[in-house]
Symmetry: C2
Subunit: 295 residues, 2 copies
Protein backbone atom coordinates (compact mmCIF):
# COMPACT_ATOMS: atom_id res chain seq x y z
CA UNK A 1 0.00 0.00 0.00
CA UNK A 2 2.70 2.46 1.05
CA UNK A 3 4.48 2.37 -2.27
CA UNK A 4 1.30 3.59 -3.93
CA UNK A 5 1.25 6.83 -1.98
CA UNK A 6 2.27 9.88 -4.06
CA UNK A 7 5.47 11.25 -2.61
CA UNK A 8 4.55 14.90 -2.87
CA UNK A 9 1.43 14.25 -0.82
CA UNK A 10 3.33 12.24 1.77
CA UNK A 11 5.97 14.92 2.12
CA UNK A 12 3.31 17.59 2.39
CA UNK A 13 1.75 15.73 5.29
CA UNK A 14 5.14 15.64 6.99
CA UNK A 15 5.66 19.37 6.46
CA UNK A 16 2.28 20.13 8.05
CA UNK A 17 3.18 17.99 11.08
CA UNK A 18 6.65 19.52 11.46
CA UNK A 19 5.54 23.11 10.94
CA UNK A 20 2.36 22.58 12.97
CA UNK A 21 0.01 24.36 10.58
CA UNK A 22 -1.10 24.40 6.93
CA UNK A 23 0.06 27.99 6.49
CA UNK A 24 3.57 27.36 7.84
CA UNK A 25 3.90 24.19 5.74
CA UNK A 26 2.88 26.16 2.65
CA UNK A 27 5.61 28.72 3.34
CA UNK A 28 8.26 26.01 3.65
CA UNK A 29 7.10 24.14 0.55
CA UNK A 30 6.70 27.35 -1.49
CA UNK A 31 3.09 26.54 -2.44
CA UNK A 32 -0.23 28.03 -1.37
CA UNK A 33 -2.01 26.90 1.80
CA UNK A 34 -4.86 25.70 -0.39
CA UNK A 35 -2.46 23.41 -2.32
CA UNK A 36 -1.27 21.98 1.00
CA UNK A 37 -4.82 21.36 2.07
CA UNK A 38 -5.70 19.68 -1.26
CA UNK A 39 -2.70 17.34 -1.08
CA UNK A 40 -3.51 16.22 2.44
CA UNK A 41 -7.13 15.71 1.48
CA UNK A 42 -6.10 13.69 -1.59
CA UNK A 43 -3.88 11.52 0.61
CA UNK A 44 -6.78 10.96 2.99
CA UNK A 45 -9.07 9.98 0.13
CA UNK A 46 -6.48 7.57 -1.22
CA UNK A 47 -5.86 5.88 2.14
CA UNK A 48 -9.52 6.09 3.09
CA UNK A 49 -8.55 7.39 6.52
CA UNK A 50 -8.55 10.69 8.34
CA UNK A 51 -4.83 11.37 8.82
CA UNK A 52 -4.80 14.78 10.46
CA UNK A 53 -7.00 16.46 13.05
CA UNK A 54 -7.33 20.14 12.11
CA UNK A 55 -6.62 21.32 15.65
CA UNK A 56 -4.15 24.06 16.66
CA UNK A 57 -1.50 22.77 16.41
CA UNK A 58 -2.57 20.00 14.04
CA UNK A 59 -2.37 16.46 15.40
CA UNK A 60 -2.04 13.09 13.69
CA UNK A 61 -4.59 10.30 13.94
CA UNK A 62 -3.34 6.75 14.49
CA UNK A 63 -3.37 6.20 10.71
CA UNK A 64 -1.67 9.54 10.21
CA UNK A 65 1.14 8.46 12.52
CA UNK A 66 1.83 5.41 10.36
CA UNK A 67 2.05 7.53 7.22
CA UNK A 68 4.18 10.24 8.91
CA UNK A 69 6.62 7.64 10.10
CA UNK A 70 6.91 6.20 6.62
CA UNK A 71 7.41 9.70 5.24
CA UNK A 72 10.22 10.48 7.64
CA UNK A 73 12.12 7.26 6.86
CA UNK A 74 11.73 8.05 3.22
CA UNK A 75 13.02 11.61 3.54
CA UNK A 76 16.07 10.37 5.44
CA UNK A 77 16.89 7.71 2.83
CA UNK A 78 16.49 10.25 0.05
CA UNK A 79 18.80 12.74 1.77
CA UNK A 80 21.44 10.07 2.33
CA UNK A 81 21.22 8.90 -1.28
CA UNK A 82 21.62 12.47 -2.58
CA UNK A 83 24.67 12.94 -0.39
CA UNK A 84 26.23 9.68 -1.62
CA UNK A 85 25.60 10.72 -5.20
CA UNK A 86 27.51 13.91 -4.50
CA UNK A 87 24.32 15.92 -5.03
CA UNK A 88 24.06 16.78 -1.39
CA UNK A 89 26.56 19.60 -1.16
CA UNK A 90 23.91 22.15 -0.30
CA UNK A 91 21.45 19.50 0.92
CA UNK A 92 21.74 18.96 4.66
CA UNK A 93 20.49 15.94 6.54
CA UNK A 94 18.19 16.60 9.44
CA UNK A 95 18.32 14.19 12.35
CA UNK A 96 15.33 14.62 14.67
CA UNK A 97 15.88 13.44 18.23
CA UNK A 98 13.69 13.48 21.33
CA UNK A 99 15.77 14.01 24.46
CA UNK A 100 14.88 14.48 28.12
CA UNK A 101 15.50 17.95 29.54
CA UNK A 102 18.12 16.90 32.10
CA UNK A 103 20.21 15.11 29.46
CA UNK A 104 19.93 18.16 27.21
CA UNK A 105 21.10 20.38 30.08
CA UNK A 106 24.13 18.19 30.89
CA UNK A 107 25.84 15.53 28.74
CA UNK A 108 23.86 15.43 25.48
CA UNK A 109 25.04 18.58 23.73
CA UNK A 110 28.78 17.99 24.35
CA UNK A 111 28.17 14.50 22.89
CA UNK A 112 26.65 15.95 19.70
CA UNK A 113 29.48 18.47 19.47
CA UNK A 114 31.85 15.50 18.94
CA UNK A 115 30.50 15.10 15.42
CA UNK A 116 32.76 16.72 12.81
CA UNK A 117 31.00 19.83 11.45
CA UNK A 118 31.68 18.59 7.94
CA UNK A 119 28.94 16.00 8.40
CA UNK A 120 26.43 18.74 7.55
CA UNK A 121 23.91 17.25 9.95
CA UNK A 122 21.09 19.48 11.26
CA UNK A 123 19.95 18.58 14.74
CA UNK A 124 16.23 18.93 15.30
CA UNK A 125 15.93 18.35 19.04
CA UNK A 126 12.66 17.93 20.87
CA UNK A 127 12.57 18.13 24.63
CA UNK A 128 10.37 15.60 26.42
CA UNK A 129 10.22 13.69 29.69
CA UNK A 130 12.37 10.52 29.53
CA UNK A 131 9.23 8.42 30.14
CA UNK A 132 7.51 10.01 27.13
CA UNK A 133 10.23 10.33 24.48
CA UNK A 134 9.44 6.80 23.23
CA UNK A 135 5.93 7.99 22.35
CA UNK A 136 7.39 10.59 19.96
CA UNK A 137 9.37 7.79 18.34
CA UNK A 138 6.27 5.62 18.00
CA UNK A 139 4.34 8.50 16.48
CA UNK A 140 7.02 9.09 13.90
CA UNK A 141 7.74 12.63 15.12
CA UNK A 142 11.43 11.85 15.69
CA UNK A 143 13.80 9.20 14.36
CA UNK A 144 15.73 8.63 17.59
CA UNK A 145 15.18 9.18 21.30
CA UNK A 146 16.92 9.20 24.65
CA UNK A 147 14.35 7.31 26.68
CA UNK A 148 13.75 5.49 29.97
CA UNK A 149 11.98 2.70 28.05
CA UNK A 150 14.31 -0.27 27.44
CA UNK A 151 11.99 -2.27 25.15
CA UNK A 152 12.37 -1.19 21.54
CA UNK A 153 9.44 0.57 19.91
CA UNK A 154 8.29 -1.47 16.89
CA UNK A 155 10.74 -0.98 14.03
CA UNK A 156 13.43 0.44 16.33
CA UNK A 157 16.63 -0.77 17.94
CA UNK A 158 17.38 -0.10 21.61
CA UNK A 159 20.78 0.40 23.19
CA UNK A 160 21.60 1.05 26.84
CA UNK A 161 23.31 4.38 27.50
CA UNK A 162 23.81 4.25 31.29
CA UNK A 163 22.17 5.58 34.43
CA UNK A 164 21.54 9.21 35.27
CA UNK A 165 21.84 9.66 39.03
CA UNK A 166 19.56 12.08 40.91
CA UNK A 167 19.84 13.25 44.52
CA UNK A 168 17.22 14.86 46.75
CA UNK A 169 18.61 18.34 47.34
CA UNK A 170 17.74 21.64 48.98
CA UNK A 171 19.43 24.89 50.01
CA UNK A 172 21.01 25.14 53.50
CA UNK A 173 18.44 27.80 54.52
CA UNK A 174 15.60 25.54 53.36
CA UNK A 175 16.97 22.67 55.46
CA UNK A 176 17.10 24.95 58.51
CA UNK A 177 13.55 26.12 58.07
CA UNK A 178 11.73 22.94 57.02
CA UNK A 179 13.81 19.89 57.85
CA UNK A 180 15.81 20.51 61.02
CA UNK A 181 13.32 19.63 63.76
CA UNK A 182 12.79 15.91 63.11
CA UNK A 183 13.57 12.89 60.93
CA UNK A 184 13.41 13.39 57.16
CA UNK A 185 10.56 10.90 56.49
CA UNK A 186 8.32 12.90 58.83
CA UNK A 187 9.29 16.36 57.64
CA UNK A 188 9.85 16.14 53.91
CA UNK A 189 6.25 15.32 52.91
CA UNK A 190 5.08 18.64 54.40
CA UNK A 191 7.84 20.78 52.87
CA UNK A 192 7.46 22.72 49.59
CA UNK A 193 8.64 20.71 46.60
CA UNK A 194 9.66 21.67 43.07
CA UNK A 195 8.69 19.45 40.17
CA UNK A 196 9.63 19.99 36.55
CA UNK A 197 6.19 19.54 35.01
CA UNK A 198 3.18 17.26 35.39
CA UNK A 199 5.00 14.34 33.78
CA UNK A 200 7.87 14.50 36.30
CA UNK A 201 7.31 11.89 39.04
CA UNK A 202 10.90 11.71 40.40
CA UNK A 203 10.06 13.65 43.57
CA UNK A 204 7.03 11.46 44.27
CA UNK A 205 9.07 8.31 43.63
CA UNK A 206 11.67 9.48 46.12
CA UNK A 207 8.98 10.23 48.73
CA UNK A 208 7.32 6.83 48.23
CA UNK A 209 10.69 5.17 48.86
CA UNK A 210 11.29 7.29 51.95
CA UNK A 211 7.95 7.09 53.73
CA UNK A 212 4.86 4.89 53.82
CA UNK A 213 2.48 7.86 53.81
CA UNK A 214 0.22 7.83 50.83
CA UNK A 215 -1.02 11.41 50.58
CA UNK A 216 1.15 14.49 50.74
CA UNK A 217 -0.20 17.94 51.46
CA UNK A 218 2.32 20.40 50.19
CA UNK A 219 3.25 23.36 48.12
CA UNK A 220 4.20 22.14 44.62
CA UNK A 221 5.94 24.50 42.22
CA UNK A 222 6.17 23.62 38.52
CA UNK A 223 9.41 24.94 36.97
CA UNK A 224 9.72 23.48 33.46
CA UNK A 225 13.39 24.26 32.61
CA UNK A 226 16.41 22.29 33.88
CA UNK A 227 18.73 25.12 34.88
CA UNK A 228 15.85 27.14 36.34
CA UNK A 229 14.77 24.06 38.30
CA UNK A 230 18.19 23.87 39.97
CA UNK A 231 18.19 27.68 40.41
CA UNK A 232 14.84 27.38 42.22
CA UNK A 233 16.19 24.66 44.53
CA UNK A 234 19.28 26.77 45.28
CA UNK A 235 17.05 29.82 45.93
CA UNK A 236 15.16 27.85 48.59
CA UNK A 237 11.77 27.69 46.84
CA UNK A 238 11.58 23.96 47.58
CA UNK A 239 13.47 20.68 47.54
CA UNK A 240 13.81 18.67 44.35
CA UNK A 241 15.59 15.77 42.64
CA UNK A 242 18.71 17.24 41.02
CA UNK A 243 21.00 15.34 38.59
CA UNK A 244 24.44 14.81 40.15
CA UNK A 245 25.90 16.26 36.95
CA UNK A 246 24.11 19.55 37.65
CA UNK A 247 24.62 19.56 41.43
CA UNK A 248 28.42 19.29 41.35
CA UNK A 249 29.14 22.81 39.98
CA UNK A 250 26.85 24.37 42.62
CA UNK A 251 29.09 23.33 45.54
CA UNK A 252 27.74 24.31 48.96
CA UNK A 253 24.63 26.00 47.59
CA UNK A 254 22.92 22.58 47.62
CA UNK A 255 22.67 20.05 50.44
CA UNK A 256 22.18 16.33 49.74
CA UNK A 257 19.19 15.39 51.92
CA UNK A 258 19.74 11.62 51.74
CA UNK A 259 23.26 10.66 50.62
CA UNK A 260 22.37 6.94 50.97
CA UNK A 261 19.29 7.26 48.76
CA UNK A 262 20.28 8.26 45.23
CA UNK A 263 17.69 7.66 42.54
CA UNK A 264 19.02 6.23 39.28
CA UNK A 265 17.19 6.61 35.98
CA UNK A 266 18.46 4.19 33.31
CA UNK A 267 18.56 5.81 29.88
CA UNK A 268 18.41 4.07 26.51
CA UNK A 269 18.98 5.14 22.93
CA UNK A 270 16.28 4.01 20.56
CA UNK A 271 16.36 4.66 16.85
CA UNK A 272 14.62 3.51 13.72
CA UNK A 273 16.17 0.62 11.81
CA UNK A 274 17.42 2.78 8.96
CA UNK A 275 20.56 2.32 6.91
CA UNK A 276 21.48 5.99 7.32
CA UNK A 277 25.12 7.05 7.75
CA UNK A 278 24.06 10.37 9.31
CA UNK A 279 21.94 8.68 11.97
CA UNK A 280 24.68 6.09 12.62
CA UNK A 281 27.28 8.83 13.18
CA UNK A 282 24.98 10.62 15.63
CA UNK A 283 24.25 7.36 17.49
CA UNK A 284 27.95 6.67 17.88
CA UNK A 285 28.69 10.17 19.19
CA UNK A 286 25.82 9.91 21.68
CA UNK A 287 26.96 6.47 22.90
CA UNK A 288 30.50 7.76 23.48
CA UNK A 289 29.29 10.87 25.30
CA UNK A 290 26.98 8.81 27.51
CA UNK A 291 29.80 6.40 28.37
CA UNK A 292 31.84 9.27 29.77
CA UNK A 293 29.10 11.08 31.66
CA UNK A 294 26.56 8.46 32.79
CA UNK A 295 27.02 5.58 35.22
CA UNK B 1 -25.59 30.64 31.57
CA UNK B 2 -22.32 30.23 33.47
CA UNK B 3 -23.94 30.37 36.89
CA UNK B 4 -26.04 27.35 35.97
CA UNK B 5 -23.03 25.11 35.48
CA UNK B 6 -22.52 22.56 38.28
CA UNK B 7 -19.25 23.35 40.00
CA UNK B 8 -18.07 19.76 40.36
CA UNK B 9 -18.41 19.28 36.61
CA UNK B 10 -16.61 22.53 35.84
CA UNK B 11 -13.76 21.67 38.18
CA UNK B 12 -13.53 18.20 36.69
CA UNK B 13 -13.10 19.70 33.23
CA UNK B 14 -10.30 21.88 34.59
CA UNK B 15 -8.57 18.87 36.19
CA UNK B 16 -8.68 16.97 32.88
CA UNK B 17 -7.12 19.94 31.07
CA UNK B 18 -4.42 20.47 33.72
CA UNK B 19 -3.53 16.79 34.10
CA UNK B 20 -3.87 16.19 30.33
CA UNK B 21 -5.85 12.93 30.60
CA UNK B 22 -9.01 11.47 32.17
CA UNK B 23 -6.99 8.91 34.15
CA UNK B 24 -4.64 11.50 35.66
CA UNK B 25 -7.57 13.80 36.51
CA UNK B 26 -9.31 10.88 38.23
CA UNK B 27 -6.23 10.24 40.37
CA UNK B 28 -6.06 13.90 41.44
CA UNK B 29 -9.79 14.13 42.19
CA UNK B 30 -9.87 10.76 43.96
CA UNK B 31 -12.69 9.44 41.76
CA UNK B 32 -12.80 6.81 39.00
CA UNK B 33 -11.91 7.68 35.39
CA UNK B 34 -15.46 6.73 34.46
CA UNK B 35 -16.83 9.32 36.91
CA UNK B 36 -14.58 11.94 35.30
CA UNK B 37 -15.83 10.97 31.86
CA UNK B 38 -19.47 11.13 32.99
CA UNK B 39 -19.05 14.60 34.50
CA UNK B 40 -17.47 16.00 31.37
CA UNK B 41 -20.16 14.42 29.24
CA UNK B 42 -22.87 15.85 31.50
CA UNK B 43 -21.30 19.29 31.18
CA UNK B 44 -21.26 18.93 27.42
CA UNK B 45 -24.93 17.94 27.38
CA UNK B 46 -25.83 20.87 29.58
CA UNK B 47 -23.95 23.42 27.45
CA UNK B 48 -24.94 21.69 24.22
CA UNK B 49 -21.33 21.94 23.01
CA UNK B 50 -18.39 19.61 22.61
CA UNK B 51 -15.91 21.00 25.16
CA UNK B 52 -13.01 18.57 24.93
CA UNK B 53 -11.35 16.72 22.04
CA UNK B 54 -10.39 13.24 23.28
CA UNK B 55 -6.90 13.50 21.78
CA UNK B 56 -3.63 12.66 23.58
CA UNK B 57 -3.13 14.97 25.35
CA UNK B 58 -6.76 16.18 25.45
CA UNK B 59 -7.45 19.57 23.89
CA UNK B 60 -10.17 22.13 24.43
CA UNK B 61 -12.62 23.25 21.77
CA UNK B 62 -13.40 26.96 21.46
CA UNK B 63 -16.40 26.47 23.77
CA UNK B 64 -14.25 24.39 26.11
CA UNK B 65 -11.79 27.26 26.41
CA UNK B 66 -14.53 29.61 27.58
CA UNK B 67 -15.65 27.17 30.27
CA UNK B 68 -12.06 26.38 31.37
CA UNK B 69 -11.31 30.04 31.77
CA UNK B 70 -14.41 30.55 33.86
CA UNK B 71 -13.40 27.53 35.96
CA UNK B 72 -9.93 28.88 36.63
CA UNK B 73 -11.16 32.31 37.75
CA UNK B 74 -13.60 30.55 40.02
CA UNK B 75 -10.96 28.31 41.59
CA UNK B 76 -8.73 31.31 42.27
CA UNK B 77 -11.54 33.31 43.92
CA UNK B 78 -12.49 30.31 46.03
CA UNK B 79 -8.90 29.79 47.21
CA UNK B 80 -8.53 33.46 48.10
CA UNK B 81 -11.85 33.47 49.99
CA UNK B 82 -10.83 30.39 52.00
CA UNK B 83 -7.54 32.04 52.90
CA UNK B 84 -9.29 35.23 54.04
CA UNK B 85 -11.70 33.18 56.16
CA UNK B 86 -8.67 31.64 57.87
CA UNK B 87 -9.59 28.25 56.39
CA UNK B 88 -6.63 28.32 54.07
CA UNK B 89 -3.87 27.22 56.42
CA UNK B 90 -3.22 24.02 54.48
CA UNK B 91 -4.82 25.35 51.30
CA UNK B 92 -2.24 26.80 48.95
CA UNK B 93 -2.97 29.18 46.13
CA UNK B 94 -1.68 28.17 42.72
CA UNK B 95 -0.71 30.94 40.34
CA UNK B 96 -0.30 29.65 36.78
CA UNK B 97 1.94 31.77 34.58
CA UNK B 98 3.13 31.40 30.98
CA UNK B 99 6.65 32.72 30.56
CA UNK B 100 9.08 32.77 27.64
CA UNK B 101 12.10 30.49 27.98
CA UNK B 102 14.71 33.27 27.96
CA UNK B 103 12.97 35.17 30.75
CA UNK B 104 12.70 31.94 32.75
CA UNK B 105 16.43 31.35 32.24
CA UNK B 106 17.42 34.84 33.36
CA UNK B 107 15.42 37.40 35.38
CA UNK B 108 12.06 35.75 36.07
CA UNK B 109 12.93 33.26 38.80
CA UNK B 110 14.90 35.77 40.93
CA UNK B 111 11.85 38.03 40.62
CA UNK B 112 9.52 35.32 41.94
CA UNK B 113 11.97 34.55 44.75
CA UNK B 114 11.29 38.08 46.09
CA UNK B 115 7.89 36.91 47.33
CA UNK B 116 7.95 36.04 51.03
CA UNK B 117 7.62 32.24 51.41
CA UNK B 118 4.84 32.80 53.92
CA UNK B 119 2.56 33.70 51.01
CA UNK B 120 2.04 29.97 50.40
CA UNK B 121 1.80 30.56 46.67
CA UNK B 122 2.47 27.61 44.31
CA UNK B 123 3.99 28.65 41.01
CA UNK B 124 2.73 26.64 38.05
CA UNK B 125 4.98 27.89 35.25
CA UNK B 126 4.48 27.06 31.59
CA UNK B 127 7.25 27.75 29.13
CA UNK B 128 6.21 29.20 25.78
CA UNK B 129 7.55 31.50 23.08
CA UNK B 130 6.92 35.17 23.95
CA UNK B 131 4.80 35.52 20.82
CA UNK B 132 2.57 32.64 21.92
CA UNK B 133 2.17 33.08 25.69
CA UNK B 134 -0.84 35.35 25.10
CA UNK B 135 -2.61 32.42 23.43
CA UNK B 136 -2.34 30.39 26.65
CA UNK B 137 -3.93 33.32 28.46
CA UNK B 138 -6.73 33.55 25.93
CA UNK B 139 -7.37 29.81 26.20
CA UNK B 140 -7.62 30.01 29.97
CA UNK B 141 -4.67 27.70 30.54
CA UNK B 142 -2.84 30.30 32.64
CA UNK B 143 -3.94 33.37 34.59
CA UNK B 144 -0.94 35.56 33.73
CA UNK B 145 1.72 35.72 31.05
CA UNK B 146 5.00 37.36 30.12
CA UNK B 147 4.26 38.16 26.49
CA UNK B 148 5.43 40.17 23.49
CA UNK B 149 1.81 41.17 22.81
CA UNK B 150 1.06 44.67 24.17
CA UNK B 151 -2.71 44.63 23.53
CA UNK B 152 -4.59 43.08 26.40
CA UNK B 153 -6.33 39.79 25.77
CA UNK B 154 -10.07 40.20 26.43
CA UNK B 155 -10.69 40.30 30.18
CA UNK B 156 -7.03 41.00 30.95
CA UNK B 157 -4.89 43.97 31.93
CA UNK B 158 -1.57 44.65 30.24
CA UNK B 159 1.49 46.28 31.78
CA UNK B 160 4.84 47.02 30.13
CA UNK B 161 7.81 45.22 31.72
CA UNK B 162 10.70 46.45 29.57
CA UNK B 163 12.81 45.30 26.64
CA UNK B 164 14.90 42.13 26.51
CA UNK B 165 17.97 42.81 24.37
CA UNK B 166 19.36 40.10 22.09
CA UNK B 167 22.66 40.10 20.21
CA UNK B 168 23.79 37.99 17.24
CA UNK B 169 26.61 35.91 18.68
CA UNK B 170 28.97 33.09 17.76
CA UNK B 171 32.14 31.45 19.07
CA UNK B 172 35.54 32.85 18.00
CA UNK B 173 36.31 29.59 16.10
CA UNK B 174 32.98 29.82 14.28
CA UNK B 175 33.75 33.39 13.22
CA UNK B 176 37.14 32.26 11.85
CA UNK B 177 35.63 29.42 9.86
CA UNK B 178 32.44 30.95 8.48
CA UNK B 179 32.55 34.73 8.73
CA UNK B 180 36.11 35.92 8.24
CA UNK B 181 36.41 36.09 4.44
CA UNK B 182 33.87 38.79 3.60
CA UNK B 183 31.21 41.20 4.87
CA UNK B 184 28.66 39.81 7.33
CA UNK B 185 25.54 40.35 5.14
CA UNK B 186 27.12 38.11 2.47
CA UNK B 187 28.44 35.40 4.76
CA UNK B 188 25.93 35.00 7.55
CA UNK B 189 23.03 33.67 5.43
CA UNK B 190 25.15 30.67 4.41
CA UNK B 191 26.48 29.87 7.89
CA UNK B 192 24.88 27.29 10.23
CA UNK B 193 22.33 28.84 12.56
CA UNK B 194 20.77 27.71 15.82
CA UNK B 195 17.11 28.42 16.50
CA UNK B 196 15.24 27.58 19.66
CA UNK B 197 12.23 25.87 18.10
CA UNK B 198 9.90 26.37 15.15
CA UNK B 199 8.22 29.35 16.81
CA UNK B 200 11.50 31.22 17.26
CA UNK B 201 11.93 33.78 14.47
CA UNK B 202 14.57 36.03 16.10
CA UNK B 203 17.39 34.73 13.88
CA UNK B 204 15.31 35.24 10.73
CA UNK B 205 14.30 38.73 11.88
CA UNK B 206 17.95 39.64 12.39
CA UNK B 207 18.87 38.31 8.93
CA UNK B 208 16.03 40.20 7.28
CA UNK B 209 17.33 43.39 8.87
CA UNK B 210 20.88 42.65 7.77
CA UNK B 211 20.40 41.60 4.16
CA UNK B 212 17.90 41.91 1.36
CA UNK B 213 18.14 38.25 0.37
CA UNK B 214 14.86 36.45 0.71
CA UNK B 215 15.81 32.78 0.84
CA UNK B 216 18.56 31.32 2.98
CA UNK B 217 20.10 27.93 2.37
CA UNK B 218 21.65 26.84 5.59
CA UNK B 219 22.08 24.32 8.34
CA UNK B 220 19.45 24.99 11.01
CA UNK B 221 19.72 23.30 14.39
CA UNK B 222 16.75 23.29 16.75
CA UNK B 223 17.88 23.41 20.41
CA UNK B 224 14.79 23.95 22.59
CA UNK B 225 16.37 24.90 25.97
CA UNK B 226 17.79 28.34 26.84
CA UNK B 227 21.04 27.34 28.53
CA UNK B 228 21.68 24.58 25.97
CA UNK B 229 21.03 27.09 23.19
CA UNK B 230 23.82 29.33 24.51
CA UNK B 231 26.00 26.24 25.11
CA UNK B 232 25.51 25.28 21.46
CA UNK B 233 26.50 28.76 20.26
CA UNK B 234 29.59 28.68 22.51
CA UNK B 235 30.45 25.18 21.19
CA UNK B 236 30.46 26.53 17.63
CA UNK B 237 27.46 24.60 16.30
CA UNK B 238 26.08 27.79 14.81
CA UNK B 239 25.37 31.45 15.41
CA UNK B 240 22.26 32.59 17.26
CA UNK B 241 20.48 35.46 18.97
CA UNK B 242 21.56 35.39 22.62
CA UNK B 243 20.02 37.53 25.40
CA UNK B 244 22.57 40.03 26.74
CA UNK B 245 21.71 38.79 30.22
CA UNK B 246 22.95 35.31 29.26
CA UNK B 247 25.91 36.44 27.16
CA UNK B 248 27.60 38.51 29.88
CA UNK B 249 28.68 35.59 32.12
CA UNK B 250 30.22 33.77 29.13
CA UNK B 251 32.92 36.42 28.57
CA UNK B 252 35.19 35.76 25.59
CA UNK B 253 33.49 32.48 24.63
CA UNK B 254 31.00 34.52 22.61
CA UNK B 255 31.66 37.20 19.98
CA UNK B 256 29.11 39.92 19.20
CA UNK B 257 28.73 39.75 15.39
CA UNK B 258 27.01 43.12 15.02
CA UNK B 259 27.47 45.40 18.05
CA UNK B 260 25.47 48.16 16.29
CA UNK B 261 22.52 45.86 15.60
CA UNK B 262 20.96 44.69 18.85
CA UNK B 263 17.45 43.28 18.63
CA UNK B 264 15.06 44.37 21.36
CA UNK B 265 11.98 42.35 22.30
CA UNK B 266 9.50 44.37 24.39
CA UNK B 267 7.87 42.24 27.08
CA UNK B 268 4.53 42.82 28.76
CA UNK B 269 2.77 41.36 31.77
CA UNK B 270 -0.82 40.41 31.09
CA UNK B 271 -3.14 39.03 33.73
CA UNK B 272 -6.81 38.39 34.23
CA UNK B 273 -8.85 41.09 35.91
CA UNK B 274 -9.22 39.21 39.18
CA UNK B 275 -9.39 40.67 42.67
CA UNK B 276 -6.82 38.14 43.93
CA UNK B 277 -4.21 39.18 46.54
CA UNK B 278 -1.97 36.24 45.54
CA UNK B 279 -1.94 37.23 41.89
CA UNK B 280 -1.41 40.91 42.81
CA UNK B 281 1.62 40.04 44.97
CA UNK B 282 3.14 37.98 42.14
CA UNK B 283 2.52 40.79 39.64
CA UNK B 284 4.27 43.29 41.90
CA UNK B 285 7.31 41.03 42.39
CA UNK B 286 7.55 40.43 38.63
CA UNK B 287 7.30 44.16 37.85
CA UNK B 288 10.09 44.95 40.32
CA UNK B 289 12.34 42.20 39.00
CA UNK B 290 11.78 43.30 35.40
CA UNK B 291 12.59 46.91 36.31
CA UNK B 292 16.03 45.86 37.54
CA UNK B 293 16.92 43.44 34.75
CA UNK B 294 15.20 44.65 31.58
CA UNK B 295 15.75 47.85 29.63
Amino acid sequence: MMSDLPLDQVKTLLAVVDEQSFDAAAAVLHVTPSAVSQRVKALEQRTGRVLLLRTKPVSLTESGKVVARFARSLAQLEQDALTELGLGSSATRTVSIAVNADSLATWFLPALARLPQSHGVCFDLQREDQDHTAALLREGLVMAAVTAAPHPVQGCTSHRLGRMRYRAMASPAFVDRWLSSGPLPHQLPAAPVIVFDRKDDLQDRFLRGLTRRRTFTMVRHHIPASESFVDAVAAGLGWGMVPELQAAPRGDALVDLAPDRPLDVPLHWQQWKLDSPALAAVAEAVAEGAKESLR
